[in-house]
């Protein structure tokens, strides 16, 4: 059976991380499976984990009140789900609704934060990856906003 560090290394978020760091973060990782229609987390819940998606698809939903549940983005294989664990107040801003069965690696945010504090070099390496992800998300949000404003 393939061990968890082997599975972790295959994920684009981790793939070029040094062996030593992979070993360290494997201690914070666990294999998880979600089924269609599962809610991985809910808007307002405490954000303690993030997920490296291996297979399947998740929709990020927002409760648009009188507009009903609005799906704003989907996350699929090779992508990462969740960054609210990283910044205070560590609450989820959306619901994560499984629309195709998901296999993922769940990373314990607190465990990873501690490891990053103990090894700032690794911390910097991890934060560079999270920054890239945040930049991608910010960019897509801006494009969505531009499209909405210009009605294109």
């Amino acid at each position: 059976m393939e061990d968890l560090s082997g599975i972790l290394k295959q994920h684009p978020f981790i793939e070029d991380l040094s062996e030593e760091y992979v070993k360290q973060i494997t201690g914070c990782a666990s294999n998880v499976v979600f089924h269609e229609n599962d809610i991985i987390f809910k808007e307002g819940d405490k954000a303690e984990k993030f997920y490296l998606i291996r297979t399947g698809k998740i929709a990020l939903e927002f409760n648009g009140r009188d507009k009903g549940m609005i799906r704003i983005e989907t996350i699929g294989p090779g992508q990462m789900l969740g960054w609210s664990w990283l910044v205070s107040p560590n609450k989820w801003h959306f619901n994560a609704h499984v629309i195709e069965d998901v296999r993922a690696i769940a990373m314990d945010g607190e465990c990873l934060r501690k490891k990053c504090e103990n090894d700032p070099k690794m911390g910097y390496e991890m934060y560079k990856r999270f920054s890239l992800l945040l930049e991608q998300r910010l960019q897509s949000t801006r494009i969505q906003l531009l499209k909405a404003i210009t009605n294109t």
Binding site: I72, Q79, A148, T152
Partner: protein, 288 residues
Amino acid sequence: MEKIIEQTRTQVKADPMLPFTMKVKKHFWETEDTFTIILEPDEEKEKGFHFKPGQFNMLYKFGLGESAISISSDSSKTSSIAHTIHKVGYVTSALSQLKKGDVIGVRGPFGSSWPVEEAKGKDVIFAAGGIGLAPLRPALYYIFKHRKSYGRVVLLYGSRSGLDMLYRVELEEWEKKHDIEILITVDRGDSSWRGNIGVVTNLFQTIKIDARSTLAMVCGPEIMMKFTIDELRKSGLSEKSIYLSMERNMKCAVGFCGHCQYGPNFICKDGPVFNFSHVKKIFDIWEL
């Protein structure tokens, strides 16, 4: 006498400012606000309409006006042509009312075309936003017809919602029959939508591109094209490997009137398909 009439007809057809007539063979709605009309020659002798993928026609609703519309059908089929049209103004609204057998004026084909020959031997990425899939469809048909001459073919398509997607049935057929990877995303989806949600640029995170041997053809709203080109450049594609189709308000279609001036170019004459390296400097000037 017959000879004189024939000569006159040839001269008339050769004058790009004079429309010839075509008859509506079929008219159907693709989405709530977008429809396709299939036209056939009005006169028996005028069989055969030749065009290159990416070119456009000026469609003339008599008594109302003309509109520049890309040809969206297979360029190897010359007995009829299709135009997929977004109903946005007076002329396109009038065109949306056409019925089978109605006659309209047509001038064309005009403009530059997609580099389907240059793309031979390479991987091809098509990136389309909304109605932008229509001008790309003839290039897709061309590649399907000569599929062995091309490497990997990928279509990235973004639309506002599942209901706004063009050619839904065809997209499914293409994937089954023509060895093409199709990735679709929508801006918004309800719980019945099982596909991707997000902007078309997000799709680049899920594909790997061999930048040295890939050519990209991009068509859609300018905002979409700008960010798509950024993604293609990030993937390592050179400016010369990227082609895009520009849209402006065209009047004469032959570069006389200047309505569609785009920096030193006229979209009607020098475009609508441009190599990105030729328009890069003016592409970010939004006032143009």
